[in-house]
């Protein structure tokens, strides 16, 4: 069988250019562990902060409403219903994802999750989880989302996101960075209330045991702290495990098809609602 060369060439070129045009950058992957991402999918934390600054608090008075979900890791089927449920909420200022964005620590997984969450009407913010540290995940997270520890203030509320995945560092005594945490809790200029966010809570065995008490003490010493939010254990719970007046809230994982709707008012007033989707 001999076909004219041109017809093969034409077919080949059409196929190749179609493949290249769809998403050449994503298709031409050097390694699943590489951290390349298009500019629109880099520094998402910074991008979302810029959006937040422009956004007036949708709730009147001193009330602030936001949602908390966690552990999106390889639950892509659950993300469209999550996004549509969140988009239907009234007066939601922002969404927080409590870590384990990815399952395998691959950049492409983080971008798959962003492909879903970018359809949210409000900006979302993430904290790094233990799965995001596997492989080259830490570098991918920093490229795609941004810093591992960061904080911002919105509607008089300071949100403090801390990398608490001590086990991923072999419990080296440096994660979480307690100095950083205390410093950011101590800076209360223009801050009426504080919310701490981490993936692994201090009472879990994946938190560096030498630093758990220190983290709890830092939170207890913060007079404006409303509560600590965490993911990781895939089980909703509200407790005061250290009997020091600090409330620890463990959120739902995406797999559980529920998220938390949190409404803050005054100095320490809050309401929690579990929203199934």
């Amino acid at each position: 069988m001999t076909l004219p060369f041109r017809s093969y060439l034409h077919f080949g070129l059409t196929l190749a250019s179609a493949a290249l045009l769809t998403s050449s950058c994503e298709l031409l992957e050097f390694s699943p562990n590489d951290i390349r991402a298009p500019a629109t999918q880099r520094n998402l934390t910074q991008q979302h902060l810029e959006r937040l600054v422009e956004q007036p608090n949708p709730t009147e008075g001193d009330t602030l409403r936001f949602a908390f979900t966690a552990d999106t890791q390889r639950y892509y089927d659950e993300l469209d219903p999550l996004v549509s449920s969140l988009n239907q909420q009234q007066n939601l200022a922002l969404v927080i994802v409590g870590g384990d964005i990815s399952d395998f620590g691959l950049g492409r997984e983080m971008r798959w999750v962003n492909d879903k969450l970018k359809q949210l009407r409000m900006p979302y913010f993430t904290v790094i989880g233990n799965h995001d540290h596997v492989g080259n995940g830490r570098a991918a997270y920093q490229e795609i989302f941004g810093p591992l520890n960061y904080s911002f203030t919105y509607a008089d509320t300071r949100f403090i996101f801390t990398d608490t995945n001590g086990r991923e560092y072999g419990f080296n005594g440096q994660v979480p960075n307690l100095g950083w945490v205390s410093q950011h809790l101590a800076d209360t200029v223009g801050v009426r209330r504080q919310v701490a966010i981490c993936h692994v809570p201090p009472f879990n065995s994946d938190f560096d045991p030498r630093l758990a008490t220190g983290y709890a003490q830092a939170l207890a010493a913060a007079p404006r702290l409303v509560f600590n939010l965490s993911g990781h254990i895939d089980k909703y719970g509200v407790s005061q495990p250290y009997r020091d007046g600090v409330t620890y809230i463990s959120g739902y994982s995406v797999e559980q098809r529920q998220y938390l709707l949190l409404t803050l008012w005054g100095d320490k007033g809050y309401k929690l609602e579990s929203i199934p989707y």
Partner: protein, 204 residues
Amino acid sequence: MKRLLLFTGLLTTWLSGSTQAQSDAVTPRRWYVPQHVILQTAGGIGLVAGGAGYTLDAKRRWDIDALVGYVPGKYTGGRAFSIFTLKGTYAPFRLPVQTRWHVQPLTVGLLTNYTPSAMLNRSRDDKYPYKNYYWWSSTVRLGVFLGGRVGWELPVGRNNRTRVASIYYELGTNDLYAVSFLTNTKGLALGQILTLGLGVKIDF
């Protein structure tokens, strides 16, 4: 990168060595001498990956290759990766087009690779409390692909063997992307898990 340029240079010199047939007999090749060399970009095995391999059967359908790939630090967030890949390819059809041209419209392949980079946080490490805390390896990947080749017959070399220069593409995925896709039939599209590799192969 320098090593790669040197490799390509040597290869070109060697191939352009002599096109004069000195006798009609095909000089037997020592068993360990590769039958082809390849240079590839992307496909999850490096910004560039170079290697050599053997064709296992007389009909030249089965290939096995070993490649070393390179990903510069710019794309890893730190130090460069070296990626060591073993690849098997089956090309069942060879369609002649013109005297010197042929097309292999379908190739099917399997590969595995190892990335021994210190950048990678090992998922099988004694910092985890029990075995299979994470079930996968962060340094070893398995891959599958479908692709095609277009080959051009070069002038016969010194050893009277047919020499062919081919370009190829491979559309594939890896084990972790496949697991993500198979456990999410609605949330992920097939196109999202694909990778594309493009390469040149020279049989000599």
